[in-house]
């Protein structure tokens, strides 16, 4: 029975993590914020380490760290004269600095802390799945409720604002949800590889369509496929699941790029000259 639970939890975690990361990944990739995955995952890692040091639930601390990063990132890019990727770079280096500061402060073995960097889908508990499920429902609900606003945000933030859409609030909510997704997924795939699951399926879907609804659908399918294929390989070869999950998503991206219909339909040289 225990073996059955452990197997079931792992598969459910692979499906949920694959779905949620790739789903929010569509917005992140189309907004040109791909680097946010690296930045947030390292913030989540630093938060988890602080949690271990202070004997607080590491996931709670990860959430707080990600939310702080999201809370700083939006206003900093809006109000200062620097581009979003520059502010992401600053946040990333600060998070990494904090992680390196906290890691030696963990008493005894560092493996408790490092598991948040590599992740282990086989150690997922019922409460971790519950957290993933809640984040999935909130993110899905958010995208369904604000789909039309999200599209225009991706098109142009200034024009979204000019049309009377609360573009700033929706943009900040996207950042918060990205943080929540990374924190909920960090235990399953780790702080380093969650980035791959966020970007690769969305980038693969980007190769196949210009329709946002289809992009969300394809990306979710690719994410779930990556999670399941990676877990299958992990069981088969008896290795940690994070790496095969990330590599599966890379294989899907490569196939999508090779067979991308965009190469034949829109990306003809004469069309590009017009740009």
């Amino acid at each position: 029975m225990e073996l059955y639970n452990f197997m079931l939890y792992s598969w459910v975690a692979a499906i949920l993590t694959g779905f949620i990361c790739s789903f929010i990944g569509v917005i992140i990739v189309t907004l040109g914020l791909s680097f946010i995955g690296v930045c947030m995952s390292h913030a989540a890692f630093a938060g988890a380490l602080l949690g271990i040091i202070l004997h607080i639930n590491p996931l709670v601390c990860s959430f707080i760290f990600c939310f702080v990063i999201a809370g700083i990132l939006g206003p900093v890019s809006d109000k200062s004269e620097i581009k979003t990727d520059t502010s992401l770079g600053i946040m990333f280096s600060s998070s990494l600095g904090l992680a390196f500061l906290f890691l030696p402060m963990i008493p005894g073995s560092k493996s408790e802390g490092l598991k948040f960097l590599w992740g282990n889908i086989l150690t997922i508990s019922g409460s971790d799945l519950l957290l993933l499920g809640i984040v999935c429902v909130i993110t899905l609900g958010f995208v369904i409720a604000f789909f039309k606003e999200i599209q225009i945000l991706i098109f142009n933030r200034t024009l979204a604002l000019a049309s009377g859409i609360p573009a700033k609030i929706i943009y900040y909510l996207v950042l918060f949800l990205a943080g929540a997704t990374i924190t909920a997924s960090i235990k399953a795939v780790g702080g380093l590889l969650v980035f791959a699951l966020m970007i690769n399926p969305a980038a693969a879907a980007y190769q196949l369509t210009y329709d946002m609804k289809k992009m969300f659908l394809f990306s979710s399918i690719f994410g779930i496929l990556s999670g399941c294929a990676g877990l299958f390989v992990a069981f088969w070869l008896d290795i940690p699941a994070g790496a095969p999950i990330a590599l599966s998503s890379l294989v899907i991206f490569t196939i999508s790029t090779i067979f991308s219909p965009k190469r034949n339909v829109y990306a003809k040289p004469q069309t590009r000259i017009l740009q």
């Binding site: 606003e149 599209q151 225009i152 000019a162 009377g164």
Partner: protein
């Protein structure tokens, strides 16, 4: 329809004065143009009227509302805005019809979707502007002139009381320009909207506007009435 009053407006960016002591008054339903050399501050002035930027000195009164960060949301949906032609990533996954429809998203509000009537209005507008055939093409994949027409359709979908046009004819052909002018004229006649036009094309200004403000180095240097246009 709404009047626009600007009182002693100055705007500084990076320690450089962009606009200096601008004062003007535009009546509801009036159509005015800002004309001047590059860097005269015309686009900045439109952006300030649109509430995408805020000034520290002077004020803008739209209708009976003084424009500020607190009040802008109340009147934003009343202002339609056609920006200057801007660069877009050709891979962007947003269809042209989505951009046109987005004009009315602020008015229909969150959690609501465009109904059949709105969809028909969008299609008719695109037909009039001869862009219906590109409605399913990604915005990044269409030509500069087509983008300009999409942006005009988007602004008109907003059903604005004030229409801000920033170089709307810069990429369109002569025939298209005539068509756009005709559509805006009809819109102005039927709905009595207030129009602000920034353009370097004197002929277009003369066809569309009844007053020109000449601008140079952030100041209004003079103004001229045009009779017998709209």
């Amino acid at each position: 329809m709404k009047s626009v009053i600007i009182e002693n407006l100055s705007f500084i960016r990076a320690n450089r004065p962009i606009l200096e002591n601008i004062s003007l008054s535009v009546k509801p339903g009036e159509s005015v143009a800002f004309y001047g050399s590059n860097g005269a501050g015309k686009t900045t002035l439109l952006t300030l009227i649109n509430g995408l930027l805020f000034c520290k000195k002077g004020r803008i009164i739209i209708g009976d509302t003084i424009l500020s960060q607190k009040t802008i949301q109340q009147i934003r949906t009343a202002i339609g805005y056609v920006p200057q032609n801007f660069d877009v990533d050709y891979r962007m996954p947003i269809l042209s019809k989505t951009v046109v429809l987005s004009g009315c998203y602020g008015k229909i509000g969150l959690f609501h979707h465009p109904d059949r009537c709105i969809l028909e209005r969008a299609y008719n507008l695109m037909e009039k502007l001869e862009i219906a055939h590109i409605s399913d093409r990604p915005f990044g994949q269409i030509s500069g002139g087509e983008r300009q027409k999409i942006m005009i359709a988007r602004a008109l979908m907003q059903d604005p009381e004030i229409l801000l046009l920033d170089e709307p004819f810069s990429s369109v052909s002569e025939t298209s320009k005539e068509k756009i002018i005709e559509i805006i004229k009809t819109w102005h006649k039927e709905k009595g909207i207030t129009i602000f036009l920034v353009s370097h094309e004197k002929t277009a200004i003369e066809q569309l506007c009844n007053r020109i403000f000449y601008m140079d180095e952030g100041k209004i240097t003079s103004q001229e009435m045009i009779y017998g246009t709209l």
